[in-house]
Each structure stands twice: as C-alpha cells, then as structure tokens.
C-alpha cells in the first residue's frame, strides 16, 4: 500500500501494458511499429520494478537502478535498431517484415 494505492493496481497496469505490447509485436508488420511495441514492453517492466521497490522495500534503491539500466539498454537498442531499419530501407525501399526476406547482400 502506497498512501492509499495498493501494489496490485500498479502490477495490473504494468501487466495490461505488457500484453498490449505483445499483441502489437505479433500483429504489426512495419518494423518501426514493432520497435514501438517493444518500448511498451520495456516500460511496463520498469513500472513493476519501481512500484515493488517503493512499496515493499522503501529503504532500498535496487528497483530504481534496474529501471535506469533498462532505460539505458532500451536507448542503445533503439538507436542500433533504427540504424538497421534505415539501412534496410536504403537497400530494399520498404520496411515491411514480410517483404524483407532477403538477408544476404
């Protein structure tokens, strides 16, 4: 319980966000929208870490540091993924997952 807000509410919000991201990852075809679904998934995990840290272990900072490192990894992943997407677009002139089946040079 955090000043009236139970832990379950945070975890349920994170769960819904996570599975919406999974749904988007399975349904979408454009590579950039796939990347956006992935960001949703990473964010929901951060909410869970931070809420559990604050509500169950208020004197510690572990959950916050995990979130900071997850955000850093997400930033690195987004930058490399967008570089790859732009490179694919330059070679094949589309970024549809089903049309990008030519992996060799």
């Amino acid at each position: 319980m955090f000043e009236g807000v139970p832990l379950h509410w945070f975890l349920i919000t994170g769960t819904i966000m996570f599975f919406v991201g999974i749904y988007g990852f399975l349904v979408r075809k454009n590579l950039i929208t796939l990347l956006m679904s992935l960001e949703l998934v990473l964010n929901s995990v951060n909410i869970n870490f931070v809420a559990i840290n604050k509500i169950l272990y208020p004197g510690h900072l572990e959950g916050m540091f995990f979130s900071v490192f997850i955000i850093a990894v997400a930033a690195a992943e987004a930058s490399v993924a967008i570089a790859i997407i732009i490179n694919i677009y330059r070679r094949l002139v589309n970024i549809d997952v089903e049309k990008v089946n030519e992996m060799k040079y």
Binding site: T33, P58, V80
Partner: protein, 170 residues
C-alpha cells in the same frame, strides 16, 4: 478517494488507453504520438511514487530521445499521409487470444498473491546524493560495475549505429 488514488487512476487510464491506441492506430505518426503520451504518463507514475530522478530520466531519455528518434525514422522511411494496411483476421485473432489469455492468467495470479507488509526502513533514500554515491560505490548495494558495463554498451551502440547507418563508398 485520496488524491494519490485519483492521480494513479488518471495515469493508469492514460497508459492503458494510449498503449492500446499505439498498437492499433493505422497512421504510423499518430502511433508514435500515442507512444509519447504513454511514456509521459509513465513518468507521471514515477513522480507519484516519488522517484524524481527516474522520472526525469524517463522524460529526457524516452520522451525526449527515443520518441524523437522514432519520429525521425518514420519521416525518413514512410510517406506522412500513408495508412498502414489493416492486419488480417488470421493474424489478429491468435495474437489477441495469446495476449488476452496471458493477461488474464497474470492478473489472476497477482490478485491471489498476498504481498508481505512493507519492510520499514530508515529514511528516504531517493535523493540525488544517495543515488550518485551508490552508482559509483564498489561496496554492498553499489553499482560501479554495472555502471561501467553500461557505459561500454552505450559506446558500442553508438559506434555500431554510426557504422550501420553511414553511406558506403561503392
């Protein structure tokens, strides 16, 4: 209903509604804008939990950095008025079933689990001084090694992105 519950309800509603719109919107630039709303509401949730530093990181790095990067790449790779094709039912139904079943099972498990009471510890440690000291400390609860590893990862990602995206001399 206390003010905290009220603010939580607003942030949770924004997060859920706009994350659904992010994965269903057929205009890709609008989907990116909805993603921005989700990320800002997440930062609001961190503020609600009094993690001010983390909320600032979320706003600058996610909302300011990654979303701008995504919007730039959208503008580079697709026409601005282009509408994506609607996904076929053959794809939507299994994906929706997988997501819905997973969400229902997880929510039931969360509701049944009885979380222990908070371990009351001394004082609030979320001020910037404590964070900085544990980020470079090598003792217990110190994060010097992950800090160095993440800096090498960011350097590698930067070099990799530049190499991948630069034009080849053919």
């Amino acid at each position: 209903m206390t003010i905290n519950q009220f603010m939580f309800a607003i942030f949770a509603a924004i997060i859920i509604i706009f994350s659904i719109l992010t994965v269903t919107s057929r205009r890709i630039l609008r989907a990116a804008t909805f993603l921005l709303f989700v990320l800002v509401a997440t930062a609001g949730m961190y503020f609600l939990l009094r993690f001010n530093f983390l909320a600032a990181i979320q706003l600058t790095l996610y909302a300011g950095g990654i979303v701008v990067l995504i919007i730039f790449s959208i503008l580079l790779t697709s026409h601005i008025a282009e509408k994506l094709d609607a996904p076929s039912w053959k794809k939507v139904i299994p994906a929706f079933l997988a997501a819905a079943v997973g969400a229902v099972i997880t929510i039931i498990t969360i509701l049944q689990y009885d979380f222990p009471k908070a371990i009351v510890a001394d004082g609030d440690r979320t001020n910037i001084r404590e964070i900085a000291q544990s980020l470079i400390s090598t003792e217990k609860f110190g994060y010097a090694l992950p800090f160095e590893v993440i800096s090498i990862l960011l350097l590698a990602a930067m070099v990799g992105a530049i190499i991948l995206a630069k034009k080849r001399k053919d």
